[in-house]
């Protein structure tokens, strides 16, 4: 089964972001991520616009798995979306 494409918006300071990365690593899932707080102001503004489209509350981690958006470290939902539950 093909692994769905995973994009994750995170903060470097956020514990649940870290837990989510650890979960994906443990499951051998490849993913892209961006630590929004580490970007320079210009880039951050652009990226935050993207995040808002997915999650109007703009909280982290915001995880896009194929077409599905999951907000927060919700282990069960993430695993289901990845088809590894």
């Amino acid at each position: 089964m093909a692994t769905p494409e995973v994009m994750m918006y995170t903060l470097s300071t956020c514990s649940h972001c870290k837990s989510t990365k650890k979960l994906l690593d443990a499951c051998n899932v490849a993913y892209d991520f961006v630590d929004v707080d580490l970007l320079d102001a210009e880039e951050r503004k652009t990226i935050l616009e993207d995040v808002k489209k997915l999650n109007p509350k703009c909280s982290f981690p915001t995880i896009k798995i194929a077409d599905q958006v999951i907000v927060g470290y919700k282990e069960q939902e993430i695993k289901e979306a990845l088809g590894i539950s």
């Binding site: 300071t13 956020c14 514990s15 927060g72 919700k74």
Partner: protein, 757 residues
């Protein structure tokens, strides 16, 4: 088993037992010789060290002798502030003739239930199932291998009023034991009781009907407590009435939960109304010590007037917390006053110079005017007043109105104010209880309220000073880890709500004491009891769980990382030693338990203190939310699943477990605040976070690099937390999704307000 069955009903029954004599423990000194209890630390056991009974402490020596001599064993259980225990001790155990029977036929063991609640629980359940009721003193007869076959509570020395006499009991049991036919029956019934006990304590009666602990069950419980509620007098049930802090705590938490979520508002208001009325009624009643602060153990009547006068640390600790919470919700200074005076009492009378808290003060003491009463000690003598005494003390008050005002407010009467006094204990005495408010007194006497308050304060002080010259009731000065945990929670909460460095220092002092005196850093285990320079008795489940909750409360007050580290370490130890992860059962005694108790015993029913299971879940939910440690989440889930099945049938079984359930289902709002705690900005940020007051919120503060290093060992948040060079920043996560850090208390407040919606 539903509340108030089990030990609760036993406790009530033995308290309601008719009183037939006055014990005089001072008579003991006339006896010559001591028995081996003189080597014990428990004040209760030492009270029996001068008796002619050849007592043993619980343990190997006693059971070894019973086996080698094939004698039945008597286990006699009580505690040092137990009135009826003193009565039976004075009547029977001090009597050389009765002692001779006991020594000739039995091996006799004395147990302090406060030191060994596991032993107590085992035999309490045995006697309940044998006779349908139980209480203290608890007297149980066992086969030499420890199986109970007969028991009861108080026995008079000789038969009277249809009650078996203690001497008859001893003779009959021994005769039966020596008769081969009867002995066979004894042994088969002992085996049968043993099986029943095992079923009861192992949860074998539980059918595995797992039900998640839902809001429906919580609602049912609030309704069930409402049905029990005495709308006329406040409190639950009828006489005798116990304060039952775990119920009050649950109802307050339910009220806060209903306000936060907007769900169940009418029921929330109803819950809050019950708590408020109960708190008012208790603080006005004779169960409250209007002169010295603190609460007595329970009221013998439904109107909270006539108490049993012993003061227990666990009641006072939990009531301080409830009154403090009530103040936080209502801002009514009355609750602050009651909480503050009760704390003053504990710090003044119940605190060891090195920081731990003592266990209890007795009900009985020598009266101030022995000529006027029976010799020896009397119930409540330290606390009650004759009219003449008050008149002479208050004669110095100018113009006499101070005395009149005091009498009016506290129902003082010339011939005493105790109407229900079947044994003449309080003849001509007044038990102070507040029957009129300050407003009413102001109207009645045509004086401004301020004058009334001033005069009341003066009179109270005068009575307090005069009372200090009376002989104090006996102090049980052993220090118990579990009960200290409750007091640490109370002081830590109060230090936050009343912004009191003194309360905080007292809580820190007690934690320091427990760490130094009652914890073994090599085995990472707790002891239960310290007294006279010695720790003893392996820690039980309530020692771990009550202390862990105390440490969490104290962490939330001072944010010292080591408290969290220690709490997390103790919780891992607790899960290993006391929790069955498959069934979700919590045991009161550890896996490597006492060989003379047959098995680990489950502990799931809240009573005057929470069960270990309920206290454990609260700690697990809090620590899971703070640390993200999945072991804690899983253990909490397992206990909820087990209890949910039971609570479907017995909704009043575990109110404190439902406090934990509400914390667990409330919105999880976690704050990490970074900034030196010395800075005003950090303090403001912390205050803004606290003000949000979410039932399920948690907070971690990272003050400096050292803090961060310590916290990183246990918390996933800490490692990446940037500590600003000036000011403070806060990062908030709602339900495991975090917002970018913010740098002002106003923004934090705004974010929290939005987030809770």
């Amino acid at each position: 088993m539903p509340w108030p069955a089990g030990s609760g009903s036993g406790l009530k029954k033995s308290c309601m037992r008719a009183r037939r004599g006055v014990s005089d423990m001072s008579g003991q000194t006339e006896k010559t010789g001591m028995n081996r209890l003189i080597n014990e630390k428990s004040p209760y056991l030492i009270q029996h060290a001068y008796q002619p009974v050849d007592w043993y402490a619980w343990g190997e020596a006693a059971f070894k002798r019973a086996k080698s001599e094939d004698r039945p064993v008597l286990v006699s259980i009580g505690y040092s502030t137990c009135h009826w225990c003193h009565v039976m001790a004075g009547e029977s155990f001090d009597d050389p003739k009765i002692a001779e029977l006991m020594n000739r036929y039995f091996v006799n063991i004395k147990v302090d239930r406060e030191e060994r609640p596991d032993v107590d629980s085992f035999y309490m359940t045995a006697v309940s199932s044998l006779t349908g009721s139980a209480g203290w003193p608890l007297n149980v007869f066992l086969t030499p291998d420890g199986k109970p076959f007969f028991g009861g509570t108080y026995f008079p020395p000789q038969a009277r009023h249809g009650m078996l006499g203690w001497a008859d009991v001893l003779n009959r049991i021994y005769q039966a034991w020596k008769d081969p036919g009867q002995r066979a029956k004894i042994e088969s019934s002992a085996a049968e009781i043993g099986q029943k006990l095992e079923q009861h304590f192992s949860g074998a009666s539980y059918h595995g009907d797992d039900t998640p602990l839902s809001l429906d069950l919580v609602r049912d419980a609030v309704q069930a407590f409402a049905e029990d509620y005495d709308t006329k007098n406040g409190g639950f049930g009828s006489a005798p009435k116990f304060p039952m802090p775990p119920i009050l705590n649950f109802l307050l938490t339910f009220y806060r939960f209903s306000r936060e979520t907007g769900q169940e508002s009418p029921l929330g208001e109803k819950a809050f109304g019950m708590v408020k009325d109960a708190l008012d009624a208790m603080a006005k009643g004779g169960i409250y010590d209007h002169i010295g602060g603190g609460f007595h153990r329970y009221s013998t009547d439904a109107i909270w007037h006539v108490p049993h006068f012993e003061k227990m640390l666990y009641d006072n600790a939990q009531l301080i917390e409830v009154y403090t919470d009530a103040y936080q919700i209502t801002a009514d200074p009355y609750y602050a006053d009651v909480a503050g005076r009760t704390i003053d009492y504990v710090l003044r009378e119940m605190t060891h110079p090195e920081g731990g808290f003592y266990s209890a003060e007795d009900a009985d003491s020598a009266p101030p005017d022995p000529s006027g009463g029976q010799p020896g000690k009397r119930e409540g003598a330290f606390y009650v007043w004759s009219f003449e005494e008050l008149e002479s003390l208050l004669a110095v008050e100018p113009a006499g109105t101070a005395a009149e005002v005091f009498y009016y407010i506290f129902d003082v009467r010339e011939d005493g104010n105790v109407a229900q006094d079947p044994f003449g204990e309080f003849k001509g005495r007044n038990i102070l209880h507040q029957v009129h408010s300050i407003d009413e007194a102001a109207a009645h006497f045509g004086l401004p309220e301020r004058k009334i308050r001033e005069s009341l304060a003066r009179v109270k002080k005068r009575l307090f000073v005069s009372r200090q010259t009376r002989l104090r009731p006996h102090l049980d000065d052993k220090i118990l880890t579990a009960w200290n945990g409750l007091m640490i929670s109370a002081l830590a909460r109060a230090s936050v709500v009343f912004d009191s460095p003194g309360y905080l220092a007292a809580a820190e002092g007690a934690v320091g004491f427990i760490y130094n005196a009652l914890y073994d850093p090599d085995t990472r285990r707790l002891y239960r009891r310290w007294r006279d320079k010695a720790a003893g008795v392996a820690g039980l489940a309530d020692d771990y769980t009550f202390l862990i909750n105390g440490l969490i409360h104290l962490y939330e007050a001072n944010f010292k990382p080591w408290l969290l580290e220690w709490a997390l370490e103790l919780m891992h130890r607790f899960i290993d030693d006391f929790v069955d992860p498959h069934s979700g059962m919590v045991y009161m005694n550890p896996k490597s338990h006492d060989p003379y108790l047959a098995f680990q015993m489950k502990d799931a029913v809240d009573n005057v203190t929470p069960s270990a299971a309920s206290a454990a879940v609260r700690g697990l939910v809090k620590l899971y939310r703070i640390s993200g440690d999945r072991d804690f989440g899983a253990a909490a889930e397992a206990i909820f699943r087990y209890a949910g099945g039971e609570m479907g049938r017995f909704p009043k079984m575990a109110p404190y477990l439902m406090t934990a359930a509400l914390i667990s289902s409330a919105k999880h709002v976690h704050m990490v605040i970074a900034g030196s705690p010395k800075r005003a900005e950090t303090k403001k940020m912390i205050d803004a976070g606290r003000r949000a007051g979410g039932v399920g919120q948690s907070m971690v503060v990272v003050g400096d690099d050292a803090d961060r290093a310590k916290l990183s060992r246990v918390l996933p948040d800490a490692e990446n937390t940037g500590i600003p060079a000036s000011g403070a920043v806060a990062q908030v996560c709602f339900e495991r999704a975090c917002r970018p850090p913010i740098d002002s208390p106003e923004k934090l407040t705004e974010q929290l307000e939005r987030g809770f919606k």
